[in-house]
Amino acid sequence: MPWDRNQMAARAAEELEDGMYVNLGIGIPTLVANYVGDKDITLQSENGMLGMGPFPFEGEEDPDLINAGKKTITELNRTSYFDSAMSFGMIRGGKIAAAILGAMEVAENGDLANWMIPGKLVKGMGGAMDLVAGVEKVVVVMDHTNKAGETKLLKACTLPLTGAGVVDRIITDLGVFDVVEGGLRIVECAPGVTEDEIRSKTEATLV
């Protein structure tokens, strides 16, 4: 059985170590926060906050307190605020230990595409290019195939890149993969998923 969204998020949470400062993207990566357990993890929100708390209770929303997805959130007793230049200073400066984000395509050399589809509405890269360029470890969490059933693990990305050679590890519904010399290495298969099934659904070279 392939992993579902929550199981993928739980598997991604295993990548995080006690004491890490982490940036989570939108979608499945946001769910990772639910699975960190006892680990002391500080979440960064790139609009200028370390120590991001959960959504507020109804009636306690503060328009001055949002995350990078523009959703209302809360602060914790460890929270600090800073401006956007300092926020991306800590991202670019390699102070953030890990970023977990979604993707449209990943290539076997670690290229990542997740910000635009030519001919479709372009919304912008936001902070994604800065994050993948600066953060120490970039973990992609995404479905193995797209809605049309085509693989998202490619020899080369077809979409415009967010970053070149930036991905370290990929977690899909079928398994866990590392970007290594010569291609992708299968680290782990989801329960009941065989390497043959993964190979049949992967274009990237598996080494």
Binding site: S45, E46, N47, G48, M49, P54, F55, P56, F57, E58, G59, E60, E61, D62, P63, D64, L65, I66, N67, A68, G69, K70, K71, T72, I73, E75, Y81, F82, D83, S84, A85, S87, F88, G89, I91, R92, D111, L121, V122, K123, G124, M125, G126, G127, A128, M129, D130, A133, G134, P160, L161, T162, G163, A164, G165
Partner: protein
């Protein structure tokens, strides 16, 4: 020098010119200079280039300046929430220069710090790097980005004293300090102007040297995505 003005219109008097470059603070609708945007709409100044992380939403924030076609070009990182923006962009009426968010923030900070250009890893190997100088440092490739030197900064802070010392609140700080720094003239709107001496000098987020004009006013502070949890879940 008197920095406090009664209204946004008065604070912008003699500053606005067609074709000028304005750096605006705010992230989404959080910490945006609502009152100054309204005054710029009212002024009718046109052909503006606006450096701002986002472009507001339809009918609010910088979206108002788009509705009136006063903006010629946006320098932004994310513009997904604005249908009128997209319409003008796709029809070629509006120019758009995408900047990675951190690059945009640093370009503002650099402009304010007298740094005309800097090298960054962000965007190397992507469309953002096309046409830009590449240079290797320590075996890694970087691209050069230019500082932004704006004609005018429009900024929202929480509190100011009459000398322009600013305090921001929570994540409403965002792009406001770097935007404030990079303008030849910086106009700030705050929720409260407090008496000199009542702000702790150790807790000033942006010193008044960057601030030329200040107004106080009521802010709508619209929430873009209201998300909550139920009390039972706690």
């Amino acid at each position: 020098m008197q920095k406090v003005y009664d209204t946004a219109d008065a604070a912008l008097e003699g500053i606005l010119k067609d074709g000028m470059l304005i750096a605006a603070g705010g992230f989404g609708l959080c910490g945006i200079p609502e009152l100054l945007i309204d005054a710029i709409v009212k002024s009718g100044v046109k052909d503006l280039t606006v450096a701002s992380n986002n472009a507001g939403v339809d009918g609010f924030g910088l979206g108002k300046l788009l509705d009136t076609r006063q903006v010629k070009k946006m320098m932004s990182s994310y513009v997904g929430e604005n249908a009128e923006f997209m319409r003008q962009y796709l029809s070629g009426e509006l120019e758009l220069e995408f900047n990675p968010q951190g690059t945009l923030a640093e370009r503002m900070r650099a402009g304010g710090a007298g740094i005309p250009g800097f090298y960054t890893k962000t965007g190397v190997g992507t469309v953002i790097a096309e046409g830009k100088e590449h240079k290797d440092f320590g075996g890694e490739t970087y691209i050069m980005e230019e500082g932004i030197f704006a004609d005018l900064s429009i900024v929202k802070a929480w509190k100011a004293d009459d000398t322009g010392n600013l305090v921001f609140r929570k994540t409403a700080r965002n792009f406001n300090p770097p935007a404030a720094m990079c303008g030849k003239i910086c106009v700030v709107e705050v929720e409260e102007i407090v008496p000199r001496g009542s702000l702790d000098p150790d807790h000033i987020h942006l010193p008044g040297i960057y601030v030329h004009r200040i107004i106080q006013g009521e802010h709508e502070k619209r929430i873009e995505q209201r998300t909550t949890r139920k009390r039972e879940e706690a």
